[in-house]
């Protein structure tokens, strides 16, 4: 978790306006606020989480990113962050296009379904993978649209979304993903972190 936060922090330039979509209990927002000179806002669907964020003095609105991002004008933020929640949306395609409308750039992180342990789990056990980053069973998982790093690459390519930076995260190690090492990184990375723009 901490490594992901540090990488996200490094991608954000100081003195910018940032929106954390699906900000949870505000852990990432607080981390960024403490480590960067930025103006950060959040949007979160869970009442309990929103109450915690507000209690911490964070500027968070309760809302559903699939509907409520529409209230923000075009490019009202320099960066929009979507940390490990893309797979939980009914319509991830629409969410990505909203992120890129509201923000000049977006930072999207995804749990990689192509990670070798996930593949092995399905291959050997023949049951839906349950791992540290994907801890739920098939019947109670909030994840509706799992994808791999490779999937996200081709998604961006097809929609002419500029993949500004792509980073693979494996435990505490991070490395750059490129077209040449994509197949390997898709196997070894637990998490993919992408800085994208229109």
């Amino acid at each position: 978790m901490k490594t992901e936060f540090k990488i996200i922090a490094d991608l954000i330039e100081p003195n910018t306006r940032v929106l954390d979509v699906g900000c949870g209990d505000g852990t990432l927002m607080e981390f960024l606020k403490n480590n960067k000179e930025i103006n950060i806002r959040g949007i979160e669907i869970s009442k309990n989480n929103v109450q915690q964020c507000i209690g911490k003095g964070l500027t968070v609105i309760e809302g559903d990113a699939e509907k409520d991002l529409s209230q923000f004008p075009d490019e009202s933020f320099d960066f929009v962050i979507l940390s490990q929640t893309l797979q939980a949306f009914l319509n991830p395609e629409k969410v990505i296009s909203e992120l890129l409308r509201v923000g000049k750039k977006a930072i999207v992180t995804i749990p990689n379904f192509g990670y070798w342990k996930v593949r092995l789990h399905l291959l050997i056990k023949g049951t839906m993978p349950v791992t540290r980053t994907l801890p739920d069973e098939w019947y109670n998982t909030p994840n509706l649209h799992m994808c791999t790093i490779k999937d996200f690459f081709s998604f961006c390519k097809n929609r002419k979304i500029n993949l500004y930076k792509s980073i693979a995260l494996q435990n505490l190690k991070s490395s750059k993903i490129s077209n040449t090492n994509l197949t390997l990184k898709n196997l070894t990375a637990v998490l993919g972190i992408f800085l994208i723009e229109k």
Binding site: R17, I54, K56, G57, I61
Partner: protein
């Protein structure tokens, strides 16, 4: 009831031009304070009351001898902690607890105003209360907070005085009254006016009081402050001190008895004409229209940090109307947080013991104050 020694009031000599065109001057604005204003004068919170509220937010109300209307939220150790903050609350003009209102004597006629009192607006109320800042020599309030009509005053205050509050917390409110809101208020007004003791508004000069009409108005309004589930849970079809129906129009059901009681105690503390004037002010409130259809413009010049709060079971000022305020603020990149609190207590949730609400309010106020230091 408004001539009581325990009421503090400020005489405002500066003329105040009302929205209706008339000007008032040398008028009383009754207020109460809680806690201590610190040396830096940066810990003042102006609380705005709702339709039937008054300046006695917390502790014992010396007039009604009951606890203040927001005792759950305001007091030592409470969400709005009077050990740390200096809380000011004023009776709105048009009210009946010491501020200039229809039950005052018109110096020109030496008679009680009644409905010759000028129509007042939320804007007028807020402009009158702004004088308190000068009186207490406060350059900038730490917070403006209010629910329901108090929330309208919060919105109007920030729009009129964009640099006079660090944070603003409008609660369970709206930027304009819906047709349904106006309809309920009209029901209340008509029930007062239908009482023969109303005497065309001149009852005070004729030693009468439209108690029946005012109490029916209160009964009808009280229903709108609660939720269907809340009422059902509390009363259901329970009978009032009897084992079976009496086949009469007595208060067989507990809910009937409860409403009658609410109506009867209300007439002891509230003036019927004030009820007409204040509900009118609420109906006339339209911050969107004031800014030519663009609510965002009301907040264009402000750096005030907002927290908007609504309640799930509030159907009088529903979440959707509170969210419109949030959307207008987000459209101009203002600093706004928003949460809808789960509660089955209806619109009254903000006045009652609603722990999620009170905890969130307390933490937000305290962290905002520390971060502002």
């Amino acid at each position: 009831m408004n001539k009581n020694i325990s009421i503090k009031s400020l005489i405002i000599s500066k003329p105040l031009k009302l929205d209706c065109g008339q000007t008032i001057n040398n008028f009383p604005l009754a207020y109460e304070t809680y806690g201590v204003l610190n040396k830096k004068k940066d810990n003042a919170i102006l609380v705005f009351h709702a339709l039937t509220g008054d300046q006695f937010v917390s502790g014992l109300n010396p007039i009604t001898k009951k606890v203040g209307w927001w005792s759950y939220a305001v007091g030592p150790g409470k969400a709005i902690d009077t050990n740390n903050y200096f809380v000011i609350c004023a009776n709105v003009i048009g009210g009946c607890l010491g501020s200039l209102g229809p039950n005052n004597i018109n110096p020109e006629t030496n008679k009680i105003y009644g409905i010759t009192f000028p129509i007042i607006t939320i804007n007028d109320m807020v402009n009158a209360q702004h004088n308190l800042l000068e009186f207490f020599k406060i350059k900038k309030l730490f917070a403006v907070i209010g629910g329901s009509m108090g929330g309208m005053q919060v919105l109007q205050f920030v729009s009129n005085f964009p640099n006079k509050a660090k944070i603003a917390i409008p609660i369970a409110t709206t930027s304009n009254h819906s047709a349904q809101n106006i309809a309920f208020n009209e029901l209340g007004r008509q029930s007062i006016m239908a009482d023969t003791n109303w005497m065309g508004g001149d009852y005070s000069n004729q030693n009468k009081n439209p108690d029946k009409g005012l109490s029916v108005a209160r009964m009808a309004a009280h229903i709108t402050y609660l939720s269907k589930n809340g009422l059902q849970e509390k009363f259901g079809r329970k009978l009032q001190e009897r084992d079976s129906l009496k086949f009469s129009f007595d208060a067989d059901f507990q809910i009937e008895s409860y409403l009658r009681y609410q109506g009867s105690v209300f007439v002891d503390r509230f003036d019927a004409n004030s009820y007409l004037y204040i509900t009118r002010a609420m109906d006339y409130f339209d911050l969107i229209k004031q800014y030519n259809g663009n609510l965002s413009k009301a907040f264009a010049d402000t750096k005030t940090k907002f927290l908007v709060i609504s309640f799930t079971s509030d159907w009088l000022y529903p979440t959707s109307e509170n969210k419109e305020i949030v959307i207008a603020l987000n459209a101009i990149g203002a600093d706004v947080g928003f949460v809808e609190i789960e509660s089955d207590k209806g619109h009254d949730s903000f006045l009652l013991n609603t722990p999620n609400f009170l905890d969130t309010l307390k933490d937000y106020i305290n962290t905002s104050y520390l971060k502002n230091k």
